[in-house]
């Protein structure tokens, strides 16, 4: 069924066609319309699920983890402060090997208060052991939920996932979306069948105290699964193409990157605008490209190294900041390239925080800057784009 729907609606449909069985969620702008939609689905029996209307995001995640441990497919959705409140439980989920799937509408963190797009909320969860998917369209939002269940629930993966939409740009903007038939999804996504379940008859301890002789090995198991997930995600994206006729380039989507003099690497919707700018600049004879990092965790270091071989210079555009150094994606990209020879120069750009538009004009200027430092070195390693200055206000 094709419908013109928002990113939030697409998230709700994603949970529905994936047959999420237990939903526990708490409202926060700009995520609210996801939980409202799911409440409608459940209230109208369009969706066979239990929706626990918890009293906080912390409890939402705690409830999802326990339900998942009991063998139910679980879903939640949140944004910024809700995600931050969950932090302890995010680590609990990955440690529990509970493949919860969550939508997060990327929103700035306060103070100062802001409800607009910014990726600081999810970037701050980098080390929680969750897979992170940054989407570019409402269709991708819906499709990635299905893909995340398929990969996350595999017995050697058992890892939770965050599906990310930029606030308002996707969450509240309607686009045509193909909502797949639940029967078609059933053929792609088998029922959740974890290797162990917390049910009577299985009298074990789930999450007990582990002494220093073994704790590391439990952590290594999570690390191994994340590493395995890298290739599994590429495969599942290809398989998705066969079932649904769509795919998203695996972990990183390359747009006109081969032989480009300048590439902007970014995550989320800024990539769409950048693609338009690339088309325009290419027509003008400038060799520019865009690499869209779709999956940030597990980190796609192989794709990043491939990009380094294709591009003359890279600007990494982060919609958040890792206080004390650079943009979080930039930090990771620079780290991934350290051990290869012939690295292109890289600059970390910080732009679009708190919902400021990243316009085609801004991006064109950045491309020109990157073209200018190709072959020379980036000089200024970190650059905040178009600061206005608060003095004198």
């Amino acid at each position: 069924m094709r419908k013109v729907i928002t990113g939030n609606s697409a998230s709700a449909y994603g949970a529905k066609v994936s047959r999420a069985e237990v939903i526990a969620a708490y409202p926060i702008t700009p995520q609210t319309s996801i939980v409202e939609k799911i409440a409608d689905f459940v209230a109208n029996k369009e969706m066979d699920a239990k929706f626990i209307k918890v009293e906080s995001e912390h409890s939402a995640m705690a409830a999802c983890i326990s339900a998942s441990m009991a063998g139910a497919r679980t879903y939640t959705a949140t944004s910024s402060h809700g995600l931050l409140l969950m932090h302890e439980m995010l680590i609990w989920a990955s440690g529990s090997r509970a493949p919860v799937v969550m939508s997060n509408v990327n929103r700035a963190n306060g103070p100062p208060w802001s409800v607009w797009a910014d990726q600081h909320d999810t970037m701050a969860q980098r080390d929680t052991g969750w897979m992170q998917f940054y989407c570019e369209s409402n269709q991708e939002v819906l499709d990635t939920i299905i893909q995340a269940y398929r990969v996350g629930e595999q017995r050697d993966i058992m890892t939770p996932s965050i599906i990310i939409e930029d606030a308002f740009v996707l969450s509240h903007t309607a686009e045509p979306v193909d909502i797949p038939d639940i029967g078609v999804v059933d053929k792609f996504l088998p029922p959740f069948d974890p290797p162990s379940k917390v049910i009577p008859g299985e009298p074990y301890g789930y999450g007990s105290l582990v002494m220093p002789d073994l704790y590391m090995d439990f952590r290594y198991k999570i690390a191994e699964s994340m590493d395995l997930a890298r290739d599994r995600l590429r495969q599942v994206d290809r398989d998705f193409q066969k079932h649904f006729g769509r795919s998203y380039g695996g972990l990183v989507e390359f747009y006109e990157c081969e032989g480009a003099d300048a590439v902007i690497l970014t995550a989320g919707t800024a990539a769409s605008t950048a693609k338009d700018v690339v088309d325009k600049m290419r027509r003008e004879g400038k060799k520019v490209g865009v690499a869209r990092m779709r999956v940030f965790r597990p980190f796609p270091y192989e794709e990043v190294r491939k990009l380094a071989k294709m591009a003359g210079a890279i600007g990494v555009l982060d919609r958040s900041y890792c206080f004390g150094y650079a943009g979080p994606i930039a930090c990771e990209v620079m780290g991934a390239l350290y051990n290869i020879s012939d690295r292109p120069p890289i600059r970390s750009y910080i732009a679009g925080l708190g919902g400021r538009d990243i316009t085609p004009e801004v991006l064109e200027r950045l491309f020109d800057e990157i073209l200018a430092f190709k072959g020379k070195g980036s000089g200024e390693e970190v650059k905040w784009v178009d600061l206005k200055g608060l003095e004198g206000l």
């Binding site: 526990a24 626990i52 009293e55 326990s66 609990w92």
Partner: protein, 299 residues
């Protein structure tokens, strides 16, 4: 011979690492006897998260899910939803937490679960402090007690606030069933838990569970102190069913509360004036409880 009301089957094995005379271990033993094998337990950070021993040891014959300190209410809601979805409404879902995990850091998630009316059991085993971390005060620590964070010092900085009344907080949620119980009266405890099996919705149990280690109490006095707690009316045994109060044990003769306090090192510093003050507070609360029971009779 009277018929034994406590099931013989042991669902808690003897190989645990709790201290000598620990009331929390007795609580678990009786609670599981009452609820039986078709039960799943969720336990937050507390003494009971350590008692089964480190991986791969266990001491319960039912599945034990470890949860984060403040999440017991949410965890049991999640389990309940999952079992209901899977067609297993018969499974008893039990949250089992200390007084800190219940009355302090976990009160929000507990309040959520109870307000939603989720069909779960919740046991707060009350050892009146954070024992796992070494005897720090909780809001359930009684007035006048020494703990490591109410050390007295040169300023007499003992616990200066009365114990939080979790039963009243639960009753204010219009919970269908709430009861106090004590390790001194296992038949009563078992009866109340079994009663809960037929109650749809949340069931809350405030269970008196002495901690010899933290109370500076001789470990052979666990049951004696528990009886004194009820006989002095500082810990009355009662239940509230849909708002109706029933006191299950009324001491024929009230024991002075000082007889209860003086067995415990944590109250050793209390002087005459404070002992009287505590007695007055206990008398007031007991009178109030009697009045509530009386008042509800006509409802």
């Amino acid at each position: 011979m009277a018929k034994a009301t406590i099931p013989e089957e042991e669902l808690m094995l003897s190989g645990h690492v709790g201290c000598l005379g620990c009331g929390a271990t007795l609580t678990m033993r009786y609670v599981l006897k009452a609820l039986g094998k078709n039960t799943v337990i969720s336990v937050p950070a507390c003494c009971w998260a350590v008692m089964p021993g480190p991986y791969p040891l266990r001491c319960l014959e039912i599945p034990m899910l470890y949860n984060a300190f403040e999440t017991t209410g949410a965890s049991i809601s999640g389990l309940r939803a999952a079992y209901d979805m899977k067609g297993r409404p018969d499974i008893n879902v039990l949250g089992f937490a200390g007084d800190g995990g219940t009355a302090d850091i976990g009160i929000q998630s507990l309040s959520g679960a109870v307000e939603r009316g989720d069909n779960v059991f919740y046991v707060m085993y009350d050892n009146e402090a954070y024992m796992n971390t070494g005897v720090q005060r909780s809001s359930s620590t009684p007035y006048g007690a020494w703990t490591t964070t109410t050390p007295g010092g040169t300023t007499g900085d003992w616990k200066r606030q009365p114990k939080k009344n979790m039963m009243e907080i639960m009753v204010a949620h219009r919970i269908p069933y709430a009861a106090t119980a004590s390790v001194a009266y296992p038949e009563d405890m078992v009866k109340k838990l079994r009663k809960g099996i037929d109650v749809r919705g949340p069931k809350f149990y405030h269970i008196y569970a002495p901690c010899p280690t933290g109370w500076r109490l001789s470990p052979d006095k666990t049951i004696e102190i528990s009886k004194l707690a009820t006989d002095s009316c500082i810990f009355p045994i009662y239940e509230v069913e849909n708002g109706i109060y029933t006191i299950n044990r009324k001491p024929a003769k009230k024991v002075p509360v000082r007889d209860y306090l003086r067995l415990q090192g944590r109250f050793r510093h209390l002087g005459e004036e404070e002992l009287n003050r505590i007695q007055e507070a206990v008398d007031w609360d007991w009178k109030l409880l009697l009045r509530k029971e009386e008042f509800m009779k006509d409802m």
